[in-house]
């Protein structure tokens, strides 16, 4: 990738809300790597992974509006740091192309609202752009503070990987993009059994007890495999594993925590930014301090 590449950037609601630190770190890291992230003009919510249960036509139409705005900006690739936003946009354009009954209804709404979508703009994950377009060698060349000795659990969660037939970047069962990025920072990646299991966030709106159990299972699995800290690729995993990590701790009455940070926060640390500059949470800062990286 040559310097100063322009890519449309879709933060999504959580990345501009409780997971604001994901936004802060992603922008800083992109700037270092010479990627110009241009926020999608007047973007709307993708539905947060829930709106399609209400009405598939509404969900598809709203996601296509964002992609249409990307096309209006003269761009074709829309990158997002949030796996749920990513999956929502990819599922929407997939359904629009495959389901003619749905397309007919969506087209009516698009016409009514004067939204034009050619089908060319697509959503991609920031991790994909980093691994495939920027490249690990280039990332390594910007590392100022190698995170040698830090054991980082590579947690993928669900929606960056599945469904594999719609996401298509890597195997949903043996992914390695996060391990590759972790290695690029000099840290030691920890591959643990529950790395592609659900963090439980989508259950928090209906069956929070179940949601917290899933979060605990992931954290426990990574902790038992020797991770000092967890890295994940999703603004909603961030809400579950970082923002309310202490709730999980209290619910299961355990005497340990396993702080979770976003993947660009890890890269940011290696690029020389301080944990404060990257908005890293108190719990994670404590671990980083103990390990001598803060």
């Amino acid at each position: 990738m040559t310097n100063n590449v322009k890519i449309a950037y879709y933060p999504g609601c959580a990345t501009h809300g409780l997971s604001k630190d994901v936004d802060i770190a992603t922008k800083k890291v992109a700037e270092v790597l010479g990627i110009e992230l241009v926020e999608v003009e007047d973007w709307n919510c993708c539905g947060g992974g829930f709106l399609d249960e209400r009405d598939e036509v509404t969900h598809t139409a709203l996601n296509l509006r964002n992609l249409s705005n990307v096309e209006k900006m003269g761009l074709q690739k829309m990158v997002t740091p949030c796996s749920v936003c990513l999956q929502s946009h990819r599922l929407a354009s997939n359904k629009y192309h495959e389901n003619r009954d749905l397309r007919k209804e969506v087209d009516k709404r698009l016409k009514e609202a004067k939204v034009e979508y050619s089908g060319k703009a697509t959503a991609e994950h920031i991790v994909w752009v980093l691994v495939r377009d920027v490249g690990l060698e280039k990332i390594k060349s910007f590392v100022k503070r190698p995170l040698t000795g830090l054991k980082v659990g590579a947690y993928y969660g669900c929606q960056m990987l599945r469904p594999e037939q719609v996401m298509g970047f890597e195997s949903a069962f043996k992914p390695h993009s996060l391990e590759d990025l972790i290695s690029a920072t000099g840290a030691t990646p920890v591959t643990f059994p529950m790395r592609t299991a659900c963090c439980g966030f989508p259950l928090m709106g209906s069956n929070p007890k179940g949601g917290l159990r899933l979060a605990y299972n992931v954290l426990d699995s990574a902790k038992s495999s020797g991770a000092d800290i967890l890295v994940h690729p999703c603004s909603l995993c961030h809400l579950q594993l970082d923002v309310i990590q202490l709730k999980v701790k209290n619910e299961f009455n355990v005497n340990w925590t396993l702080p979770a940070i976003y993947v660009t926060q890890l890269l940011g640390l290696a690029f020389g930014f301080s944990p404060e500059e990257l908005g890293i949470s108190k719990l994670a800062q404590k671990v980083l301090k103990e390990k001598g990286f803060a």
């Binding site: 709307n44 249960e53 139409a61 599945r162 709730k247």
Partner: protein, 314 residues
């Protein structure tokens, strides 16, 4: 034969007497060799004690579900050399499905799966007139198209074996049963809608949207999609369980927030879902982790909100 390649098949074996062990077999395969054929040749040419199920060899009977290189798959729908290519190794691991009780080697007890399926009454309940031959209930093509995808289940059990929610929640029916249940819930010829709602709605809110079932289904049934569609019927259920009630409040809050601002305003969605007390508790956790400053951000409204409203069908 030309283009043959040697593979090593590592099978996770099991029997009641010996417990579990791994065993390796070597054989040559070509680009047409299905994993069911691999297993058949191991059994007939090398080791008659190996136990597995397979029947139709064309992804119709659902007998040969197992884990191949860690992926829940039908053995008949998996070509050995595709796995070699995908994972860059001529060693292929074969294990029984997760979750179900093991009987012997790759054979699991499917009783748990069947009982889930029978709970959702997996057949059509037509009207009295139709049963007595006095009327005919035709299905419109667009209704058939809605149901078609969800009707393709072959009861293989892969989705249930890979589902994280069935493992933590005995009240969740599991993906396959939901696909089957929705297929009849949405069938205009069926007559037990109310009863189906009672069976399906609470369970639908216990799915965690991990998309594992969508990923592993060899017939592209998309069980998770039927769970989403079933949730949309919650408003027709008179007596709701706490799980369904909270879920419905949550999605109503999300829809309202998007309708008003084009975005999810976390604070208002939280308040409407969990009430003041529930929201405060989470706020305290956020505060302890240094995140309170982000909780107070009010996201900018979409400027062209009229366009959003039109797209939402107003």
């Amino acid at each position: 034969m030309e283009n043959e390649q040697e593979i090593v098949v590592r099978v996770k074996r099991f029997n009641q007497e010996k417990g579990e062990w791994w065993q390796e077999y070597k054989l040559k395969v070509d680009r047409f060799t299905q994993m069911t054929e691999v297993l058949r040749r191991i059994k007939t040419e090398q080791d008659p004690t190996l136990a597995y199920r397979a029947s139709c060899h064309m992804a119709v009977c659902g007998s040969c579900a197992m884990k191949i290189n860690g992926e829940p798959r039908l053995a008949c729908k998996t070509l050995a050399l595709d796995m070699v290519k995908k994972y860059g190794s001529n060693v292929i691991t074969v294990e029984p499905m997760d979750f179900f009780e093991r009987e012997k080697d790759l054979i699991v007890d499917m009783e748990d799966f069947y009982s889930r399926m029978f709970k959702v009454k997996p057949r059509l309940y037509p009207s009295k007139e139709v049963l007595e031959g006095k009327a005919e209930h035709r299905l419109k093509p667009e209704d058939q198209r809605e149901l078609w995808k969800f009707e393709q289940c072959i009861w293989c059990g892969l989705c249930v074996s890979a589902c994280p929610a069935v493992k933590i929640d005995p009240q969740f029916l599991g993906p396959a049963a939901h696909a089957k249940g929705y297929r009849f819930l949405a069938d205009p010829r069926d007559t037990i809608y109310e009863e189906r709602l009672k069976i399906l709605v609470d369970s639908a809110w216990r799915c965690t949207y991990c998309y594992m079932c969508f990923n592993v289904c060899p017939r592209d049934v998309e069980p998770v999609t039927t769970i989403k569609k079933t949730r949309a019927h919650t408003k027709f259920l008179k007596e709701r369980t706490p799980v369904a009630e909270t879920g419905e409040r949550h999605i109503e809050a999300i829809e309202e927030s998007i309708r008003e601002t084009g975005k999810i305003q976390e604070a208002s969605v939280y308040l409407k879902t969990y009430g003041v007390l529930g929201s405060l508790i989470d706020l305290i956790y956020a505060f302890q982790n240094g995140k309170l400053k982000y909780a107070l951000i009010k996201e900018e409204k979409v400027k062209n909100i009229e366009q959003v409203k039109k797209l939402m069908g107003e």
